[in-house]
Subunit: 325 residues, 2 copies
């Protein structure tokens, strides 16, 4: 069931748990988490964009990751999918499967739900339902996130055309390097890279309908995600390695980590293609939203992804992107 | 991401897996599972009813349960929530977290998705998105299911009134007894009770708007779920134990198992309250849908749930219903 009623003994079992940690997050559409389903209406002329993701302890996050960022990361991964379609965030459901044994105690959930509350406010979303279960195993979190957009305005992956420029928001590769920092394989005294891994910044709020020809978010790594647009649009994406924007923290690690940056996942920046005549409109839209955007290559006829170095010679990515499964 | 593009090497990794097992289940709203989000519209004057559930191996199902029934059970638990609101089934998302180590091999997933396909046809639903992840732990399945209904027609839990009759569909307690059979604690040569545990029959298709005063599905056990309606409606529910319908298989086990039947979960029948003047309309609606319905008690002023035996004397349930967490 989506909702769950209060037990008469407030505070006991599942019902008290929901009342304490999740009811404060629930919007009107949740029916206060007290009924069998949530009820959600769509404004006239609009449609829902829907994304769902699961995060598993030891796979997508580390056991000692701060609980306050875990739910936020899950939300933001999905919000990034909404951003890639051009939808504005609206609501979400949350399924929490908690390891037996008490490691995730009351304090843990206070911090976890405090993180969710922060991102609800930040992105204008609310909880509409969920489920809590237990497991003899690691923590598992699933969210389904709902966005709204005008009908027929969704940004798709299948309309990139030869001649279009390839653009990315923000900086690329920080999250992959941040994971290496957290694993002790790299040093970043500033903490910037680890923060990028823990808490992505989904690029919601951009108005790109009528400007870009294709869009997706970079979750599996720039090279692999370029492959997805190439495949869906029936084109070739040519990336200029040196044009791919690096953060100060990433750049200061030197050129050795370029392939990790280009192939590593979890950035949650946007990958966009844009006809040359709309480049200025793209830059203006990003400036309005205060989001950096850089051109990193060109769409060509052909298939697959090519990566060029500073001399214009082809270089071969050493590793694929993230395989979920 | 909700969708996932085909890898160029069809059959490899996550993308081949999705193409083989889940793309055949995907409806048009899924964008063929190839984009960042699904897109879903709501017909004018209608709204979505949304329910989400997680099932965990060793908690909600057994490792040797047939794979073909697992996804169907997850869908049906959620479809039962839609039925309780009076919504008609429409679509779902599915998150599958698979144990590492290969026990869930290609054959397992062929059977799993074949089961889903059967229920898609049976209930007129389609897959719109999902996520596949791996885990060092048990199998975890989450689904979010979407139904449609006319605005302002949802059946709620909070409108039961003193004097209303209390009704249930089908027979009560079969699934709880079926679990005992599967655990070797009870014998049922017919297999009926185990089937009721493996594969509930959600009561979709009933037209109860304007007839019943409150509705919910019985997932936690009749007594506990009556408590939810009592709490939400601010009334007392008085149940006559002997009026609670038993299947032939359950009745043939004798009276000793009455409390297990009344307190055990997983039946996914409907619990309804209905003003006396609309009892005939309720029975007619159920007859039209070919769904048995029986009156099991009366709503009174007061709080909580009372259980009366055949002499009209009060009897105390020996155990609560299912606590999820």
């Amino acid at each position: 069931m989506t909702g769950a009623s209060d037990d008469k003994k407030a505070g006991s079992g599942e019902f008290g748990f929901i009342a304490r940690h999740f009811r404060p997050l629930a919007g009107a559409e949740s029916l206060d988490l007290r009924d069998d389903c949530a009820l959600m209406r769509c404004p006239e002329g609009e449609e829902f964009a829907i994304s769902t993701d699961t995060m598993v302890e030891n796979i997508h996050f580390l056991p000692d990751d701060p609980p306050e960022t875990l739910g936020r990361k899950l939300l933001r991964c999905n919000l990034s999918d909404l951003a890639a379609m051009g939808a504005r965030p609206h609501a979400y459901t949350l399924n929490v499967t908690v390891p037996r044994g008490g490691r995730h105690d009351e304090n843990w959930f206070v911090a976890f739900s405090r993180g969710l509350a922060k991102d609800q406010q930040r992105y204008g979303i609310h909880l509409i339902g969920g489920d809590t279960t237990s497991i003899s195993g690691p923590l598992v979190l699933s969210a389904t996130v709902f966005g709204l957009l005008r009908q027929n305005t969704a940004l798709r992956r299948n309309n990139a055309r030869p001649g279009d420029g390839i653009w990315v928001t923000g900086t690329i590769g920080d999250a992959a390097l941040g994971l290496l920092v957290l694993q002790g394989k790299l040093k970043d005294p500033s903490g910037f890279l680890a923060r990028r891994y823990h808490l992505p910044q989904p690029r919601t709020g951009l108005q790109l309908h009528g400007i870009v020809s294709a869009a997706m978010d970079i979750s599996d790594g720039l090279i692999q995600d370029c492959g997805h647009i190439a495949e869906e649009s029936g084109v070739q994406l040519v990336i200029e390695a040196d044009a791919v924007p690096a953060s100060y923290a990433a750049a200061s690690l030197g050129h050795d980590w370029l392939m990790q940056r280009l192939c590593g996942g979890d950035d949650y920046e946007l990958l966009l293609t844009c006809p040359p005549e709309r480049s200025e409109a793209l830059q203006a839209a990003c400036q309005t939203a205060d989001i950096p955007v850089h051109r990193v290559g060109t769409v060509r006829t052909g298939t697959g992804v090519r990566l060029l170095n500073a001399d214009g010679r082809e270089t071969i990515p050493q590793q694929g992107g993230w395989q979920h499964f």
